[in-house]
Symmetry: C2
């Protein structure tokens, strides 16, 4: 399943609104086929893996990171393909998150006398599929708040200088995240101050995420570098969209963040990296719309400076929002602390017992 | 040597101005004697270890965390004791930091045809002996700045509520540090707001560190709980010491921090844990008098709140002070990040080659 997850990772950021899925076919302990879903509209992971395995798929075991589909969409059902190829056993990481679909793929395989196991490395798979699962179950993208701060909690000096808080390795990792998530979001202040390109740099084969600018008051210039083709401006109905649209920017008019996120979901944006600044981060947290947090802590002391979050959230320390599933790792000189404010969208409403007897 | 360092750890916080030293005697792969220096005026580690080993010390190897002394102080020289016991080999973690003494113990042993190795786990030993080494080489205590902050860089809410930033495990570890360091220091504001006892709680066999209050303007009440017998008030010459002395507080009048630290050293305080608050921390950093930093990062978000460091230190991010020798570990739910702003006081001015030929 690790190999299948590795395959799925190759499609991250390229498949929305579809999930990034990987599949390997194993025969006598040897991988004879592998595949991943490269892009919506193209074949699913299973198809590529079975194609490579060809005749060796007969009697083999297929590992798939998501339950094989059982319905005709833009491609024929993968469950049928696995049955036709003659695989003996299918191991699934996680069920389809859509309650109306979950379990159908498994049932179809079992009805064809294929042995099916579910739940192997399920959490890892759910992490990879967070955006897809969020779109299906909540009709909004999965949001990841990211910032880098010093060991005394500053993200910039009082004058705004932030070059650089974190090490080069940390900044490279952020570019990998941009490559893997569907969109990168910033607030108006970041555009007015820095007008960042937010492109993906230094990632072999990388592609740029869509840029999303949250600017309720319509203060950013239509010609900003951050805007333009592929970008989205989230603003109010008072802002005239035409100058922005003339530059190729998609304009969404929404007064509240939940509505704006739903609208981004309708644009097939399944995941958003919130990259700046404190005001945007504070607004998302205040609205309880941050799903995941990734913070680089650089082991250096600045003294007084700008704080990562704008605006007051809580009056008492006991009210502070605790991250769940915290992981810590060293990245260059820095410490990356990541965790969840919301659980990964449920893998299935079925109990383990129910899954056994689908 | 690990076992010898373990012995030395038992004396931490009890031996100043002497170092905490440990010794084990090993014969045929078995520890036959162990000892640590329990307190200034009592015998050194080697004496206890040799006493336990008795006749088995003959032909054995002694591991000592600090070069055995060669001069008559309050106790006879340990080098002589090792020679008299007939040990065949002595392994030393670190040389004596006093340039006038360093190497003499080793030479004395070698002159008695004892094989001597120097430098085994030297860094660990230097960490344990940081206070002693600081007193000897700089005539001031080793200073450790400690605080706990949220993942968005706050140590308290705007109203001052800080219960609790860190997990119980982290707070227990702080009590162990209080047990191991000679003194715990706070600023006037902390006393006026909380009047903390700063005692060591929950550490089996623990003892209280001396309390040091930095209060230049003499604002704290003489009857404060933080003050009293065993405590030190650092203030200006304008403050009348008598009310404080009436409560058993030692009063030091010094306008500047370097002078105050030297005065603490004269009171046999070899190490100080800076426990609060932001103003004191900022003043020590501004004066470049923080040697080591230990920060608990709690994976929770508060929003706006109080920052760990008072006052501006730097105008540009590139000027931020980088910690060296950074170590990260998980303590309860929190992440402990520790490192040095100053190197551990030099172990010796001798080169490895010179040590070989002492």
């Amino acid at each position: 399943m690790r190999a299948a997850l590795g395959q799925a990772a190759r499609g991250l950021g390229r498949t929305s609104p579809n999930p990034s899925v990987g599949c390997v076919v194993v025969r006598e302990g040897e991988i004879v086929g592998r595949g991943f879903h490269p892009k919506a509209g193209e074949p699913h992971a299973e198809v590529f893996a079975l194609r490579e395995a060809a005749e060796r798929a007969r009697g083999a075991t297929a590992y798939v990171t998501l339950e094989p589909c059982s319905h005709f969409g833009r491609t024929p059902p993968c469950a049928d393909a696995l049955i036709a190829a003659g695989v003996r056993r299918v191991v699934v990481a996680a069920l389809d998150p859509n309650p109306r679909v979950a379990g159908r793929g498994v049932r179809k395989l079992r009805e064809a006398d294929i042995e099916v196991s579910v739940g192997v490395l399920q959490d890892e798979a759910a992490r990879q599929q967070a955006g897809f699962r969020s779109l299906i179950t909540r009709a909004r993208p999965w949001t990841v708040l990211k910032y880098a701060m010093t060991l005394d909690g500053t993200i910039a000096t009082r004058s705004g200088d932030s070059r650089w808080v974190s090490s080069e390795e940390a900044r490279t990792l952020v570019h990998r995240w941009r490559d893997e998530l569907d969109a990168v979001a910033v607030g108006a202040q970041t555009v007015l101050t820095d007008d960042p390109q937010l492109t993906t740099r230094g990632v072999p084969g990388g592609r740029d995420a869509r840029r999303v600018v949250f600017d309720r008051r319509g203060r950013v210039p239509a010609a900003a570098r951050t805007l333009g083709p592929g970008s989205v401006l989230v603003t109010s109905a008072q802002t005239d969209p035409r100058p922005f649209e003339a530059y190729g920017t998609t304009v969404i008019a929404h007064e509240d963040l939940p509505g704006a996120l739903r609208a981004l979901g309708e644009l097939d944006i399944a995941s958003v990296l919130l990259e700046g600044g404190p005001v945007l981060a504070g607004a998302f947290l205040e609205a309880d719309l941050v799903d995941e947090v990734r913070v680089f802590v650089a082991p250096k002391l600045l003294g007084a400076g700008q704080s990562p979050l704008g605006g007051p959230l809580h009056d008492f320390m006991a009210q502070a929002r605790e991250l769940q599933g915290v992981r810590t790792e060293t990245v260059g000189h820095d410490v990356l602390i990541r965790g969840f404010l919301h659980p990964l969208p449920t893998v299935s409403t079925l109990t383990p017992e129910e899954i056994q007897t689908i």
